[in-house]
């Protein structure tokens, strides 16, 4: 069936693959040359899947160390304020009610931060290991935007920020409503956080042949060109915004969600326009 030369070459190919140094001999129109190329392709993709596993493990390690690092600060703060609170309370009648209530509200704030952090991490891990799958189907864009706005409305009101959105019930795209809501809320939440008092957030849509875009524009400081690639990293915080509350997980989660439904995000850097602009592209 096969001649000895072919068998010998096949054996060589296997040996080389085991040693990890397989190289195609020459390129011509023979079947054996084509087979060599396919063999190389197969070996390449198994290297890639091994590398992906390796990356996955590294990511998990990094993730765990990130969590312990991120939880440390609020935990330490809670401990410290609890100590202060106890000391103040121990002064009995001389204790300052003002100080006590101040410490209590500090503890509350740190607690909220911790809660938010753990909540985000749980969502992220559910998303990444697929426990709560992202299932895109045809949905109304308006519904998505309206639900997301209602989630941040009270926060916006506290800072006197107006949120505008022109309705258009005809627009549809392919997305998972629940998860994408989460994603859009994260973007709006950022817009509120970084907008000045009395600012304005504008949401508008734009249709493409393949994608449906949602623009979120605010009049905050925006994102510098050099930061545009970094902001989607886990626990990344812009240099000017360190004092604002937040844990830097929102945009990472947002990007993961949108990528799972074949969409993508784009940031318009602040040298291109004033203020901040983030665009979500969803598949139509």
């Amino acid at each position: 069936m096969f001649n000895n030369k072919t068998i010998a070459r096949l054996e060589e190919m296997l040996d080389a693959a085991i040693e990890g140094n397989f190289v195609e001999s020459e390129y011509d129109e023979t079947k054996i040359s084509r087979l060599e190329s396919r063999w190389k392709e197969f070996l390449g993709s198994s290297v890639l899947s091994n590398k992906n596993l390796e990356n996955e493990r590294h990511r998990l390690e990094q993730f765990i160390s990130d969590i312990s690092h991120q939880t440390k600060t609020p935990m330490t703060n809670i401990k410290m304020y609890t100590e202060l609170l106890k000391e103040e309370a121990a002064r009995g009648a001389d204790a300052s009610i003002e100080k006590i209530s101040n410490y209590a509200s500090m503890i509350e704030k740190q607690n909220t931060r911790l809660e938010f952090l753990i909540d985000s991490l749980t969502k992220l891990s559910r998303l990444e290991n697929g426990t709560l799958a992202v299932v895109p189907k045809e949905e109304q864009i308006d519904k998505l935007i309206a639900t997301s706005i209602s989630a941040i409305e009270s926060k916006a009101k506290l800072k006197n920020i107006t949120v505008t959105h022109k309705k258009d019930e005809s627009l549809k795209a392919l997305f998972d409503l629940k998860w994408t809501n989460e994603a859009l809320i994260n973007i709006l939440d950022n817009a509120v956080k970084y907008s000045p008092e009395g600012g304005a957030i504008e949401i508008y849509t734009e249709q493409f042949e393949m994608y449906q875009a949602i623009h979120v524009v605010d009049n905050g400081p925006g994102i510098s060109e050099e930061d545009t690639a970094k902001i989607f990293g886990r626990f990344y915080r812009g240099s000017e915004v360190q004092q604002e509350e937040g844990v830097g997980i929102g945009l990472y989660l947002t990007r993961e969600i949108v990528a799972k439904e074949d969409g993508y995000l784009k940031v318009v850097p602040n040298n291109k326009r004033e203020g901040g602009e983030m665009i979500v592209y969803l598949r139509r």
Partner: protein, 220 residues
């Protein structure tokens, strides 16, 4: 594991007084699954570089290694077969075959190589690029953006080691460009496809995972 390594590439035209160094010692490497953009103004050497990387032109000196093979050592027919099997090209001018259907265009590189068409994979690619309803029409019946989507499908379908895209949106209006770039970005991730894209536009370059800037034939 780099899928593409270029070392100390130079390309000189003319000599002495008229010597032009289109490429002047360029080294770079691209990892499997990466989406890299090479950005430069016209005359920066970016197109020359892409031609070297794709084996469309030979460097004056230096080496290009794709999938562990030094392509500067390949000659004539061998290089031609190598390109067909290992490299997917996406050009500014789409370069589809006008006389055959969209579907036949997509599977052409696979058929030229005498390989079996992986039907599941190809239909996944077609669906991802939104071409299901266009498979039986001739390319001339399609808009520019749709033609470029066919070119992307054609490049992906043969599962090449690397896709090289030369100003893929150069002939498209800005809105269609955004569509095509979005598809390049998302399909690359979805199908684990390594891509290198040449552009002169900052905003387009930003769509990639990593940007390499080239000026006067050198990497900045």
């Amino acid at each position: 594991m780099s899928i593409l390594v270029a070392e100390n590439l130079t390309k000189h035209y003319g000599q002495d007084d008229t010597l032009v160094k289109a490429l002047d010692g360029v080294s770079l490497s691209v990892e499997r699954g990466e989406f890299v953009s090479i950005i430069g103004t016209s005359g920066s050497g970016k197109s020359t570089l892409l031609h070297m990387l794709g084996g469309l032109d030979t460097p004056t000196s230096g080496t290009v290694i794709i999938d562990d093979k030094d392509i500067s050592k390949l000659k004539g027919d061998e290089l031609c077969i190598f390109r067909r099997r290992k490299i997917g090209f996406i050009f500014q001018s789409f370069n589809l075959v006008p006389s055959i259907s969209v579907y036949d265009n997509i599977i052409l590189p696979i058929q030229l190589d005498g390989k079996q068409v992986d039907k599941d994979f190809v239909s996944n690619v077609i669906e991802t690029l939104g071409l299901q309803s266009k498979l039986n029409v001739l390319p001339s019946k399609l808009s520019g953006g749709q033609q470029q989507r066919v070119a992307i499908a054609r490049a992906l379908a043969s599962k090449p080691a690397i896709i090289l895209a030369d100003e893929p949106t150069g002939n498209l209006d800005s809105k269609t460009s955004q569509d095509v770039l979005g598809l390049l970005k998302t399909t690359g991730k979805k199908f684990n496809q390594t891509m290198v894209m040449i552009t002169h536009n900052d905003e387009i370059a930003q769509m990639a995972d990593r940007t390499i800037r080239i000026e006067d034939g050198r990497i900045k």
